[in-house]
């Protein structure tokens, strides 16, 4: 198991480096210029000196290595310092990745936006998982029953209807026509946990975005759970378990589910980075000012460092959760790790 984990981890590092190179290369082609937003009266020599100072004219590899140093050394160190209140090395004058449009460190802005994204998307993900697994298991166990047919149809809809459409329909019905919920999510709202009214307002504004995303998350996962259960239900070991007189719910929970949940757990790990990609669209519909909205604004403004940092964080999450998925798969299924 140790070598398996080590091999996987060692493979993740070059992947991450190549991905960072790809992201950096694509964005390096961007027409954006940090001096674009400065006053037009500024003489060209001054602008040129600003560019020089920001390192815009450096050769590509130098820029990439500088950026890698910021991303892999300075930013993590800064994170450690701010969490534990320590000061490693020269923490006062440490270089940070600075957003061109807001002139603040990109990571700090991301950190400010993170809670909104996590609240809505994280909750939708947890709810989706909690609904999807029982639905998938029951659908498979009672294959072709009314429950299975309805469940399969609903998941097919959740899987096919784009979230921006379900979101807008929800707004139309529940905000415009019925007036039950606000049509957008106010991310700056501070919940007063001692007042029921305030908590209720927060719940009300979260219901629609969470429901829309939950439907989407549930759909893919329960389809997968159902398929995985069906694969195992006809296996010989299930017949053996039944014929030796085990109670039916023992057969299902102890034998079938245990085996069919292996790929499901991996899929759950794999889809965690997808939460953040899903944020991009959902946050546009409900005007949540989270990470997705931040990315769209940064792209619109040509804020290259911000886009690079965000995209790289997405990539980092994907690689890390791929690794987590591989390792859990190896832990749960010994056949994999002896490959």
């Amino acid at each position: 198991m140790g070598t398996y984990v080590l091999r996987r981890t060692l493979f993740a590092i070059p992947t991450l480096i190549i991905i960072s190179l790809i992201i950096f290369a694509i964005l390096d082609l961007a027409p954006g210029d940090p001096t674009n937003q400065l006053p037009l009266t500024l003489p060209d020599e001054v602008k040129e000196r600003i560019r020089e100072a920001l390192g815009v004219n450096d050769p590509f590899l130098v820029k990439w290595l500088k950026w890698m140093r910021l991303m892999f050394i300075n930013e993590p160190l800064n994170l450690i310092d701010s969490i534990f209140g320590t000061c490693i090395g020269d923490c006062e004058n440490r270089d940070r990745i600075i957003s061109w449009s807001s002139r603040a460190p990109a990571v700090d802005i991301i950190y400010q936006r993170l809670p909104q994204t996590l609240w809505v998307l994280g909750l939708a993900f947890i709810l989706g998982t909690l609904i999807a697994i029982p639905v998938g298991v029951i659908s498979a166990y009672k294959q072709y029953s009314a429950f299975d047919n309805i469940g399969t149809f609903v998941t097919m809809i959740g899987f096919s209807v784009p979230t921006f459409f379900t979101g807008l329909i929800c707004i139309l019905v529940f905000s415009v026509w019925l007036g039950w919920f606000p049509s957008f999510y106010d991310g700056s709202y501070v919940v007063d946990w001692s007042s029921w009214e305030s908590i209720w307002f927060q719940i009300k504004q979260m219901i629609m975005p969470v429901a829309v995303l939950t439907l989407f998350n549930t759909a893919a996962l329960s389809r997968f759970t159902r398929a995985s259960m069906l694969d195992n239900l006809n296996e010989d070991y299930v017949r053996t378990a039944r014929s030796k007189g085990l109670r039916e719910n023992k057969v299902i929970t102890k034998h079938v589910m245990r085996n069919s949940m292996i790929p499901v757990v991996t899929l759950i790990a794999l889809s965690i980075p997808g939460i953040f990609a899903g944020a991009i669209i959902t946050e546009q519909i409900f005007r949540v000012n989270g990470l997705g909205a931040l990315l769209i604004t940064a792209i619109g403004q040509g804020d290259v460092p911000m886009v690079q940092t965000l995209t790289f964080i997405f990539a980092f999450l994907i690689v890390v959760f791929n690794l987590v998925a591989d390792v859990t798969y190896g832990l749960l299924d010994p056949r994999i790790r002896y490959d």
């Binding site: 992947t15 082609l29 096919s160 459409f165 792209i299 040509g302 990539a315």
Partner: protein, 313 residues
């Protein structure tokens, strides 16, 4: 496994080899099983209607999708304007019909492109041992890329140059199709590779090698036809995914420019007028959903129909 290959061979190489029982080719067999899947049949009918409507609808329907009529803005649905009009008096149904052409052709073209890359990569890495590891590592790498953010960035970067070079419509079409294709081939490649690895160990491939068939012909005549079933299923799922991606890009305002009413773009334009004319959002949104739903059902039906374990029942 062997039965599929025999049957596939029957169709592709020598049609209608005499069997013990009734004469039934693979095509008939698949169709017979496909017909049993009610969702797939309904999906096929709905998709055909949508395709026919977008192809012929604009010729039949009397309103011009681009004609601005300031005296008739924000009309509710009526017998004159079936889905009402938008904020500058253009007929919504006419725009939805013409937009469907772009959305569907983007979906179709992106699927073909992605499928082509995926099948090529899958076959090459399955067939040539030396290329297997590098190609599969590349596939893994592509799978680890944050696709949506990168799509957005790439579109932002290349939209203007391509627009200038090829004109707004063709330029954006090529851009959107190629980037969706370039980022959606990985699953196909993995599935095809798996199949090729199994097929190339079969006796008929050995026989083909033994009689001195060139490698290119072994691939084209013997391997490729046998990977048909996973490729067909990926094709169906690929169209659905491509239509969804295009509409998401247009919805984010990074797909086609405002004067080209794709379905996603129409939803995006209409969302701020939700209270005045909901049909402006509902009609294109419902069409995206219906199309994707039908294609997914067809994909499901195809998968069942092409699965020899299910078909023999």
């Amino acid at each position: 496994m062997a039965t599929t290959q025999e049957r596939t061979q029957e169709v592709t190489a020598a049609p209608a080899g005499p069997e013990k029982q009734k004469h039934r080719s693979l095509k008939q067999d698949v169709w017979r099983q496909f017909k049993r899947h009610k969702g797939a049949i309904v999906g096929l009918v709905v998709l055909t209607i949508i395709v026919l409507a977008t192809v012929f609808g604009p010729f039949v329907y009397p309103h011009d999708p681009f004609e601005i009529d300031p005296t008739n803005t924000n009309q509710p649905p009526s017998s004159e304007h079936v889905f009402g009009t938008d904020n500058v008096g253009r007929d919504v149904l006419a725009r939805v019909l013409i937009g469907g052409r772009i959305s569907l052709s983007v979906g179709f073209a992106a699927m073909i492109f992605g499928l082509f890359i995926g099948t090529a990569v899958g076959i090459i890495s399955g067939f040539f041992k030396r290329l297997d590891a590098p190609l599969m590592r590349t596939t893994d790498l592509f799978l680890a890329l944050p696709i949506l953010p990168l799509l957005l960035v790439v579109i932002m970067l290349f939209r203007e140059p391509l627009k200038d070079a090829l004109g707004p419509e063709l330029g954006i079409f090529i851009l959107v199709v190629s980037i969706i294709g370039l980022t959606s081939w990985m699953q196909t490649a993995r599935i095809v590779r798996g199949d090729v690895l199994a097929i190339k160990e079969e006796e008929f491939v050995l026989a083909a090698h033994a009689v001195g068939t060139k490698k290119r012909n072994v691939i084209m005549r013997h391997i490729l036809p046998n990977t048909l079933s996973p490729v067909m299923v990926s094709a169906a799922l690929g169209i659905a995914a491509a239509i969804l991606t295009e509409s998401a890009l247009s919805f984010l305002g990074l797909g086609f420019p405002a004067d080209f009413p794709t379905w996603g773009r129409l939803v995006q334009d209409g969302r701020n007028h939700l209270q005045i004319n909901p049909m402006w959002v509902v009609a294109p949104g419902a069409l995206i959903s219906l199309t994707v739903l039908s294609v997914n059902f067809i994909g499901d039906g195809l998968r069942d129909a092409l699965d020899p374990k299910l078909r023999s029942r």
